[in-house]
Structures are given as structure tokens and as C-alpha cells.
């Protein structure tokens, strides 16, 4: 084992899961779960496999109170409780459930084609939000009042509780492939097919274009207080400043670059200005934004990092790769 694996060896628990890791999340109870391309969910506590979907898991999110929810290409939304019990929350025929999300206020959301279905904590369907084209990503705002959905030619921002449902449409020509909302709900940012990001300042509708990527950005995340937007898609972690008038007219900060390997996944620490990043060769590292200091977490193992998540207090980091290698590292002070 190389020195790069020091943290994984000394403070980690690693496992070869044998299938593409499509996502890793920590439930609000603190438990860690990995969703896989073979349709199973693995709970890191003992690495128990739980059959979730007949096909592949396509998305995973922390559920309302505890456990996780997943969407699959069998058209189902599943809940996996912390004890591993799997329950079907919804079924949408043969359509894929591409994305799921949940908020601790008691809401769940699932995308199926052009629709975003909103469910309550019991799994009862509340409403279905229609879009002009297939929904490619969803995000709740911090308070759970609004949900953003990305699609062709822009994103739609909905008030979840509104009786009359009509979205605020954020328009920008082209194919938008994912969406995030800043922690203070002041900005919406999408990833695009053309190796760029697009953003809207909600107060005045100001457009923001963040370009210059050599490949598609598939992972973006705001830092805890929303000062930075960390992004994958370049051979380093690209951070756009969302303060002092930025990101318009500001150059992004670059971290952990230099070896020419694409960053594929980013995850921001829940309280500190620290970002975890995964790369195309499987390398996982943590970088401190202020100092630029980089600490390796796991050595390259050949396939791209496809999942990365911090727990709620920021003491543990989980990662997974396309090749099925997964790890959970305890970074708390000892």
C-alpha cells in the first residue's frame, strides 16, 4: 500500500463492492449507505447488501429523518431504513427514477421523465410538477420551501407548498444536466452539456457563466456558508467565489491540480471551508481552501471516483468508484 493510503489504512474501512458506486450518503441518523449499479444498497455498518432495485440504483439521498431513499431503473422509489429494511415508497411503471431528494421538513421528491413527483414523509403523493423536457437534476433549498429542477433550456424553481403550481423559469439556451441552490437560496447554478456552468442570481435574475472546463462538470457543491462553489470537470478542483461581487468578473481558485487527471466528484465539508475531491484515476483527497493544503485520503485504483459524501458533522468521509471500490474514513480528532 502506498503512503497515499495512509488515512484509508489507519482510519478507514474499505471494501470492494463489485459494482459501480452511483452514490454515497449519510442518513440523518449518521449511518452511511452506498447505492450500486447492481441494484443493491450497502450499509457501511457491516457492508450488508440490501436489495433495493431490480436493475440499477440511479440515485440516492438521505431520507427525511433517518435511513436513505433510492431511485432505480425499475421505476421504483425505495426507502432503506437504518436496520436495512427496504420498503417501496412509489412505483412509476417502466420509467426510470433518475433523481431523488428529501428534506427534513418531511418532503421527498423523485424525477421520472419530465415530472418531479413530491411525496410526503409517509410516501403519499402530494403533487406532480410538469416540465417541458426531461428533468436532469433536482435540489431542495436549505429550508425545504423550494425545489429547483434542471432541464433543456434552463431550470424551474417551484414553491413546494404553493396551491397553484407554476414555477419561476430560469431560462438559458442549451441542455442543463444538473442543479444546485446556494445555502442562502440566493443563487441557482446548473451544469451544462457544453462544459460550462450557468448561474442565476435570484434577486435580479443576473446571469452568470462559468466556463473554461476541458470536460463536462458532473459534480458541484457549495461550501458550508456558500462562499465558494466547488466544481469537478477540470484537472484540479475549480472554486468560484460567491462573495465580493463574484463570480462575475472573478477568476476561480484552483486546488489540488498539477497531475493532469480530471476531477470527477467534489463534496464540501458541512462546516469548514474544506473540500473533498475524487479524480478520474480513483485518487481521493481533502483540500483546505484558505491554505491550499492537500491531504490524500485514498490512492488511485484505476477507475474514476463516482461518489463522495461527508457526514452531517464532518467527521467522516465516504467515497466510491465506478469500479466498485468503496471506503469510509474517520477523520475526527483522536
Amino acid at each position: 500500500m502506498s503512503d497515499t493510503d495512509f488515512l484509508l489504512d489507519s482510519r478507514g474501512d474499505a471494501q470492494d463492492l463489485g459494482a459501480w458506486v452511483i452514490g454515497a450518503v449519510f442518513g440523518r441518523d449518521g449511518g452511511c449507505a452506498f447505492a450500486l449499479g447492481d441494484g443493491t444498497v450497502r450499509l457501511a455498518d457491516g457492508w450488508r447488501p440490501v436489495t433495493a432495485h431490480d436493475g440499477a440504483c440511479l440515485s440516492i439521498a438521505a431520507d427525511v429523518k433517518d435511513g436513505v431513499i433510492t431511485g432505480g431503473d425499475d421505476g421504483r422509489v425505495m426507502r432503506i431504513a437504518p436496520d436495512g429494511t427496504a420498503t417501496e415508497l412509489a412505483k412509476y411503471g417502466s420509467k426510470w427514477v433518475d433523481h431523488v431528494a428529501a428534506h427534513d421538513s418531511g418532503l421527498r421528491a423523485a424525477t421520472v421523465g419530465k415530472a418531479v413527483h413530491i411525496l410526503d414523509g409517509k410516501g403519499t403523493a402530494l403533487k406532480s410538477l410538469a416540465h417541458p423536457t426531461t428533468v436532469t437534476g433536482i435540489a431542495f433549498d436549505t429550508k425545504g420551501k423550494r425545489i429547483a429542477a434542471s432541464h433543456y433550456n434552463g431550470a424551474s424553481l417551484w414553491f413546494v407548498a404553493a396551491k397553484e403550481s407554476s414555477p419561476r423559469v430560469l431560462e438559458w439556451k442549451g441542455s442543463h444536466t444538473g442543479v444546485v441552490i446556494s445555502p442562502d437560496a440566493s443563487h441557482v447554478v446548473t451544469t451544462m452539456q457544453e462544459n460550462t456552468l450557468h448561474g442565476w442570481r435570484l434577486a435580479d435574475g443576473q446571469h452568470m457563466r462559468m466556463a473554461g472546463y476541458p470536460s463536462k462538470t458532473k459534480s458541484v457543491a457549495f461550501t458550508a456558508k456558500g462562499r465558494w462553489l466547488a466544481t469537478a470537470g477540470a484537472d484540479c478542483v475549480v472554486l468560484w467565489p460567491f462573495f465580493g461581487g463574484g463570480p462575475m468578473g472573478k477568476a476561480p481558485t484552483e486546488l489540488a491540480g498539477g497531475d493532469g487527471v480530471l476531477c470527477t466528484t467534489v463534496a464540501c465539508h458541512p462546516t469548514q471551508d474544506v473540500v473533498a475531491a475524487g479524480f478520474d484515476d480513483g485518487l481521493v483527497l481533502i483540500a483546505e481552501i484558505g491554505s491550499g493544503r492537500v491531504v490524500p485520503v485514498a490512492a488511485p485504483r484505476g477507475t474514476a471516483v463516482s461518489a463522495l459524501a461527508w457526514n452531517g458533522v464532518g467527521s467522516h468521509l465516504a467515497f466510491g468508484t465506478e469500479g466498485g471500490f468503496a471506503g469510509l474514513i474517520d477523520l475526527s480528532k483522536k
Binding site: 474499505a14 470492494d16 459494482a19 459501480w20 452511483i22 449499479g37 447492481d38 441494484g39 436493475g55 440499477a56 440511479l58 431503473d73 417502466s94 420509467k95 426510470w96 433518475d98 421523465g113 423536457t133 426531461t134 436532469t136 433543456y152 439556451k173 442549451g174 441542455s175 451544462m192 452539456q193 457544453e194 470536460s215 463536462k216 480513483g282 485504483r301 484505476g302 477507475t303 468508484t321 469500479g323 466498485g324 471500490f325
Partner: protein, 344 residues
């Protein structure tokens, strides 16, 4: 602990054809025949008949424009998403078959394989297979632009319903097909009964394979017909090609005429290079690669084929000829200047 290493790209067969031509019959033959292979099937939601297969995905045929300054560059957004999803369960199938609706323009499908980096990395376009109805093709060619495009894009054409036509009628239909697309393989069939290995796993989109299988691609007659709106022209030159001149010229031709050029394919022998260069484009989107050393005794003739509408044969011929090394520099400059790109 080691990670699974990256795998070979998954072959994708695109099945096109007009409504009622026998596309779904062919698809079901491929799926039910005992070949030991498993396929993921992507069908459009308005499919004609049921498809019996373990892994069937409904597609919406969402055609998206790319913001890359190229006005005819469209891709299938749903396909990018679906192929990405299928890659996560890569071990469950050996290949992917993609059926398109009868009215679909094949260009966005083909361009998706050129333009999207993830699709390019994970998959390989094996062939565009077009099923046509021998009895009704001539009428379809007269009244729809899609029927012509589906033939223009085909690598393999299944000339179906042979039981409904006479030998002379079949020959006439083949002549019409050749007028649009002279290098596609034509397979005659009744009830889509072609050998499966003649349409699947052919690597027919790959120009190197075309050369191995059909040396006449380089030496065949240049069909010159005008009974369809879409037709083809091809040219051959003896002297090696000057790479810089060719790039400058073809870039200008595609920028200016790309909307009307459905497919462009070329095999080029560059001056000072011992390898052959394969060039291909769908509308304005071009791609090219060296495809191995020239063998002893190979005729070192470069050839280019344009399939499209309203092709200016003399301009294209003179331009390609001016790309030859040793030709006067002023000649190629004049040929490039002819093709004024539309204002951006």
C-alpha cells in the same frame, strides 16, 4: 485491493426505418435468435409492437441543440442520459440496440456518438442499420425527406419484403438506394430474415472495416444519379494529400455546406505519412483518425464521398484535387475561398 479496470466500449446498433418497413420484426429476430448474447434495447415510446427482452428502456427522442456555434449540431439528450445509466450495469449486456421512430432524422443520433465525451468513451457505434420496404420505398423517397436521410445514414440496409416485388422491381429499388448511398451494404430479406451476424457486430461504422470488407469503396464506380433530392458524389486522387490543405478546405466546406451534407467519409493518404487517415463527418461535426499502415501493393489513392443535398460536384472535385501535395498553392486558396461560411 484493486479496482476493476476500464472495459472495452459497448457496441451500439442503431435501427432505423420507416413505419411498417419491418424494423420491429428485425429487432425481435435479433433478440430471440439463439446467439448467446444479451442486449439492452432502447425503444421509442411510440413503438409499433411489443419487444420481448429483459432490459428495455423507453426513450423520448429529445433532440437538443448544442451551443457550439454549429447551427445543425443536434444531439439526442435522452440518449446521453440513457447510455450513461446503462453503463452503471455494464455487466448485464453485451451490446445495445437503439430503435428510432420511423420519422426520426438519424443525424442527432449519429452526432451524439461524435459529440458527447461520455458516450464516446463508453460506447462504439457499431452500425446504422436501416430497414426499408422494397415495395413502397420508391414512393416513400418521393414524399418524405426522412426516408432519404435514413438511407443516406445507413451502413447496412435491409431491403425487406422481397416477396412482394419482382426481381426487376428489386433491382430498381437497389439502383435508387445506390444513387443516395453507394457504399452501404444491401441485404435482401423477406420478413427481415437476414442472418443476425450480418447486421450485428459488424463494426460497419468504422472506416477501416469498410476498407477490409469492401475494397471497392476505394475503386468503385462513381454513381451519379439525380432521381432523389439526396445523392452522393465521390472523388479519387492519385497524388498524396497535403494534410494542412485538406483540413483547411474541408473545414470551410463543412462550415459552409454542413447543413446539406448528411455524411462525408474519406480515406486519405497523406504526404510524408505511411498511415492511412480515415475522415468522417455528420453535417458539420467531423472526426478522423489514422487507421494503420499502408500495405505493400495497396493503390495509394485517396477517396472522399459526400452524401447530401444540392451538391456542387465540380466545386467539390476541384477542391479535393487541389488538396494534393505538389499542386499550386493559389489553387487551394481559390477553392477554399469559394466556400464562404454563413455569417456567425
Amino acid at each position: 485491493m484493486s479496482d476493476t479496470t476500464a472495459r472495452d466500449p459497448v457496441p451500439v446498433t442503431v435501427l432505423t426505418g420507416y413505419l411498417g418497413a419491418g424494423k420491429t420484426t428485425l429487432l425481435n429476430r435479433i433478440l430471440t435468435e439463439n446467439h448467446g448474447k444479451k442486449f439492452a434495447v432502447v425503444i421509442n415510446e411510440f413503438g409499433e409492437l411489443g419487444v420481448d427482452n429483459d432490459l428495455v428502456v423507453d426513450a423520448d427522442e429529445e433532440v437538443f441543440e448544442m451551443n457550439n456555434g454549429c447551427i445543425c449540431c443536434t444531439v439526442r439528450g435522452d440518449l446521453i442520459r440513457i447510455l450513461g445509466g446503462l453503463m452503471k450495469r455494464r455487466d448485464r449486456f453485451d451490446g445495445i440496440i437503439l430503435e428510432t421512430t420511423g420519422l426520426a432524422d438519424p443525424a442527432p443520433v449519429a452526432q451524439t456518438f461524435f459529440v458527447d465525451e461520455d458516450v464516446k468513451r463508453a460506447t462504439r457505434l457499431d452500425a446504422i442499420v436501416t430497414v426499408v420496404d422494397a415495395k413502397h420505398l420508391v414512393a416513400r423517397l418521393a414524399d418524405t425527406k426522412e426516408a432519404q436521410e435514413q438511407i443516406a445514414f445507413a451502413d447496412i440496409i435491409v431491403l425487406n419484403k422481397m416477396d412482394l416485388v419482382t426481381g426487376a422491381e428489386a433491382d430498381e429499388v437497389e439502383r435508387r438506394i445506390r444513387g443516395i448511398n453507394p457504399y452501404a451494404e444491401i441485404r435482401r430479406a423477406t420478413k427481415s430474415d437476414v442472418p443476425i451476424d450480418s447486421v450485428i457486430g459488424r463494426d460497419a461504422f468504422n472506416l477501416e472495416r469498410i476498407l477490409e470488407r469492401e475494397p471497392e469503396f476505394l475503386s468503385g464506380d462513381d454513381h451519379h444519379e439525380h432521381d432523389s433530392e439526396v445523392n452522393s458524389v465521390s472523388f479519387e486522387v492519385d497524388k498524396p494529400i497535403d494534410a494542412e490543405r485538406f483540413n483547411a478546405w474541408i473545414t470551410q466546406v463543412l462550415a459552409s455546406k454542413g447543413q446539406d451534407l448528411l455524411r462525408t467519409k474519406g480515406i486519405l493518404y497523406y504526404a510524408d505519412d505511411s498511415r492511412r487517415f480515415a475522415f468522417q463527418a455528420v453535417h458539420m461535426i467531423a472526426d478522423g483518425d489514422f487507421i494503420g499502415e499502408v500495405k505493400d501493393g495497396d493503390p495509394k489513392k485517396s477517396k472522399i464521398v459526400f452524401i447530401g443535398r444540392d451538391l456542387n460536384r465540380p466545386w467539390l472535385r476541384r477542391g479535393f484535387e487541389a488538396c494534393q501535395a505538389g499542386e499550386d498553392e493559389s489553387k487551394i486558396q481559390a477553392e477554399i475561398a469559394r466556400w464562404t461560411p454563413p455569417p456567425a
